[in-house]
Symmetry: C2
Subunit: 168 residues, 2 copies
Amino acid sequence: MNLTEAKAQFIQSWGILGSQWGINRTMAQIHALLVVAAKPLTTEEIMEQLSVSRGNTNMNVRELIDWGLVDKVIIKGERKEFFSAEKDIWKVATLIMYQRKKRELDPMVKVLNQLSEIEGDKEDENVKAFTEAIGNIKKFAGQAEKTLDTIIKAEENWFWSSFIKLFK
Amino acid sequence: MNLTEAKAQFIQSWGILGSQWGINRTMAQIHALLVVAAKPLTTEEIMEQLSVSRGNTNMNVRELIDWGLVDKVIIKGERKEFFSAEKDIWKVATLIMYQRKKRELDPMVKVLNQLSEIEGDKEDENVKAFTEAIGNIKKFAGQAEKTLDTIIKAEENWFWSSFIKLFK
DNA sequence: GCAATGTTTCAATTTATTTTGAAAGTTTAA
DNA sequence: TTAAACTTTCAAAATAAATTGAAACATTGC
């Protein structure tokens, strides 16, 4: 396998992985392309390399910038905008965790809090079972939240060792 | 909010959360329904409560069983099959982690290993950059794998230790 | 065996998501 | 100010994913 094939393969696989995790394929592919690119790329180059329309490229690049995974780069003497990706995979993982926590875990916790306050006979077996189930999920969400905060704040070096300790 | 409303709300939210993580909405909703159900439910009951077809219910229940999140329950004197969900949220989380690791992380690692072996001039800046990027991702994946194994094992230990306590 | 009850499959349909591309908007340099 | 270069938007079209439902298949009890 040569470099060009390898890059294409990586972009392909990263796209599939992304789509299995609720990230659209093109967004993941653009990210992959920028990760393995030697230099920042323009919209034109992304369009060409991935065979994707201008609108699609623009929207997904904007989304990637929004997630903090991609940066606009100004190259002097050039009129066009260039884009480059965060290449430190630890940072990438941290950014994604942070974004997903904010967008998905936090809203879920909000709902769970509302659900803890149901009216009804506290002696009723059904009410008790429900309250307990929700309570456990909240407890879990709380732990997950703390763990994520730890990871996000942690320095790369003691990152995993401290993470693992949480479960010992 | 009363119990019925709260259950509906929970099922709704769990469904949305699932779909953001690449799990189909109905599958997540069936799981949620079974988690908050006081008793094991039949296909009929699931169909009715979620307004979903028989085929859809059957397929998603099967998938949940496949993930280890739901069990078939035989109730004596009853002809029908009943289904009940794992209610321990930690176990649910580890089961999901295990399945996703197996289905998504492992294949990605396999691809990454192939990509490390590209042909080409080792002095070429482009080749060097690519190899390094892939190397970092592999390192990350390796760490993630180890961490997941630790979590999953920790959970097993917890399971067995509490199981043993039952006989003390 | 066979009818009743229950489960599974899958082609067709519906629904949801992604993508396109042309038009509108913006910035730049002369 | 103007026009060329470039970016953004969004309604419509294409694509992908989930869902239906009726038919096929399986199991049970008589």
